[in-house]
């Protein structure tokens, strides 16, 4: 497989390490009343779709970026690749209702 790294271009997937569902970015609030249940669902339950799947890949043999890759689990076609950090920022912004800059300068 080839992953089109948003900063580095096409790279063979063997440069990367796979983690799993990108929902692992959404770590629950440890102080929530039902934190044990939230953490259980977060860590253990998966949609595991047969089709489009958002997932985390780590560019261990590259620039050490964590990426969110949108890949079809039936065809392996990849339709989108984002920096996980940008995705995480966007999620935080959504939650707090404000927009935070990713911290990455304009290139």
């Amino acid at each position: 497989m080839i992953i089109h790294h948003p900063l580095l271009g096409p790279r063979d997937a063997s440069e990367f390490v796979y983690k799993g569902d990108a929902s692992l970015i959404n770590r629950p609030d440890w102080q929530a009343d039902n934190a044990p249940e939230l953490f259980h669902d977060y860590l253990y339950l998966r949609d595991n779709p047969a089709g489009e799947h958002q997932e985390l890949w780590y560019h261990e043999q590259g620039d050490r970026s964590w990426l969110v890759v949108t890949r079809n689990t039936l065809t392996h076609d990849i339709t989108n690749v984002e920096l996980a950090r940008d995705v995480a920022f966007a999620k935080q912004a959504n939650k707090s209702g404000r927009v935070e800059k990713s911290g990455r300068g304009k290139k």
């Binding site: 580095l8 063997s14 043999q61 620039d63 970026s65 990455r104």
Partner: protein, 192 residues
């Protein structure tokens, strides 16, 4: 006062060997300082780099070069750059800190890598056996840099001149890395 002095060694003891069409040399006397950019600190760092080294923060995959100390700057990770320069001392970070102050987090990496230069007309043919990246000059011209994996070892490859490539790989596995290169050279050396 200690009665002892420490002597420095290089990862490959100054290795150098010629094959038909390709030469392999260990490169030494270069310092590497990792520069991590503080949150929201990129602009300030860029300013200081310009004023000190007359060098720009490069985009990933491209070398920035400057004449002072033969400086080369390239991106290693998000918000992290390697500044490479001629230096043989023990305190590379202080050299850089003198110029950049606390606009960046510095980490000495000078002893972390082995440097090997592969040059000659057969260089690409040799690298074809171990380098997964397309290093054809049309897509990886002189001045390009990339990190990838060769024979299970993480490697940064720099196209530093025509038919010449610099490779950086971890120091502890320098001998295995060299063996991978030498084997490639032997396997691709033309039969006379």
């Amino acid at each position: 006062m200690p009665d002892y002095t420490l002597t420095a060694s290089t990862p490959l003891d100054g290795y150098s060997r010629d094959f038909v069409g390709v030469s392999i040399h260990e490169v030494n006397d270069r310092a590497i300082v990792s520069i991590a950019v503080p949150k929201h600190g990129e602009r300030e760092l860029a300013k200081l780099l310009t004023s000190s080294y007359q060098i720009e923060l490069p985009k990933p995959g491209i070398l920035s070069v400057a004449s002072r100390d033969n400086v080369v700057l390239f991106n290693m990770a998000q918000d992290q750059y390697f500044l490479v320069f001629d230096y043989t001392g023990n305190t590379a970070t202080s050299v850089v800190r003198n110029l950049l102050g606390d606009t960046a987090y510095l980490t000495d990496q000078s002893d972390s890598y082995v440097w090997v230069r592969i040059s000659g007309t057969n260089s690409r043919c040799l690298l074809e056996r171990i380098c997964p990246l397309d290093i054809h000059p049309s897509v990886f011209p002189v001045g390009s840099v990339a990190r990838t994996v060769m024979e299970h070892l993480g490697t940064t490859i720099i196209h530093d001149a025509e038919d010449s490539f610099l490779l950086l790989s971890a120091r502890s596995s320098a001998h295995s890395f060299l063996e991978a290169i030498e084997t490639s050279a032997a396997n691709t050396e033309p039969v006379n």
